[in-house]
């Protein structure tokens, strides 16, 4: 049998007139069927949290002088560090693609008189923006501006 959901899930405001058995989670939740993609999608939040801390560290190092900077960049060679960033890269693609897949349907049919563009146009725009911004950042971070 399944595992229990929140004990008050879907409970009516007025107490039920007979004793009920507690609500059960959908059996495939969290790691079977389509729920697996959703659960992993949620867990990638951890990766972004860590990335956030790392980014803060790098910013601090930039402001703390060449010795701190050298220490941080030395870390870039560490295989664990590299593996983590490959994982982060994959998860960003995964989340981006999933988000972009769902984004068009979250647009209301109309805001005032303005209608959204057709779905393929929205999708093309999102991917173009994503790739464009990534290219710009890659250019800056790889030292393209220092010439």
């Amino acid at each position: 049998m399944s595992r229990p959901a929140h004990p008050h899930a879907m409970q009516p405001k007025r107490p039920g007139r007979t004793r009920t058995a507690p609500p059960q989670l959908p059996p495939q939740f969290p790691m079977s069927g389509r729920y697996r993609a959703y659960t992993l999608f949620d867990w990638t939040g951890l990766i972004y949290l860590l990335l956030g801390f790392m980014a803060l560290e790098i910013v601090w190092a930039v402001g703390s002088g060449p010795a701190a900077w050298a220490a941080i960049t030395a870390r870039f060679e560490n295989p664990v560090y590299i593996a983590f960033h490959i994982l982060a890269f994959v998860s960003v693609i995964f989340v981006g693609v999933r988000f972009f897949r769902f984004f068009p349907k979250s647009q209301p049919p109309r805001i005032g008189p303005v209608k959204p563009p057709p779905q393929p146009v929205i999708l093309a725009g999102l991917y173009a923006a994503w790739i464009g911004v990534t290219a710009v950042f890659a250019f800056i971070l790889s030292g393209g501006l220092s010439g």
């Binding site: 899930a9 007025r14 058995a21 059960q24 959908p26 959703y38 769902f102 979250s106 049919p109």
Partner: protein, 249 residues
Amino acid sequence: MADRPKKKFIVTRFDPETDEVPKTQEYEIPVEPDWKVLDALNFIKDEIDGTLSHRWSCRMAVCGSCGMMVDGEPKLTCKEALSQYGDTVEVSPLSNFPIIRDLVVDLDGFMDKFQAVKPWIIRAKERAVEEGPMRQSPEELEEFKQFSMCINCMLCYSACPVVANEPDFLGPAAIALGHRYNVDSRDEGADARNEVFRGEGTVFSCSFANECSEVCPKHVDPAAAVNQAKFNAVIDWAKGLVLPRGGKE
């Protein structure tokens, strides 16, 4: 009917007066090739075990009564062909709902949420019958029509991971219905509904699992409705900061 093949059904049973917790019971019955899952349940009740309780009515996927978990997925039992399942089929009550008896779950929690979104046309001044029907173009009708198709079968509530964990969340069907009225060109009550959407049952609890739309038998796409509702609720809130309230924007 010499050689009808047989299938085994593992059905959840629960009688609150005699059972501490739900249990399962197995039935093996001959099945017809064109049966839906519901036909098998009805055969069990008619011929084998009259104590099995389940809800059903129209048997044409429009009344919404017969929602149950079949092999772990929420389905309308009157719509699902039995032939797509193997020799053993598990039938249990909808997940995320308190269970009253056997395959029957408590719907009153849904009815509360349903009522909370004010699912009726709200207008500043009621229109007189003599003035005739309001005008609405086919385009305006299309904008909300899909969301009005909900048969209240609650498969979406069964599939939603947020409903499973947050009792206050309004849930897919209720939000989709509220959104249907918000988008209906004849309605003027979006302010009141958006307040409900930003309130206790907040639409922002939705984390876009999209399971609701995957299981919806009527292609209502509640995930679209909920996320559009989020969008509108924010715009409405921002407008409220800048513009005075009252009247339809």
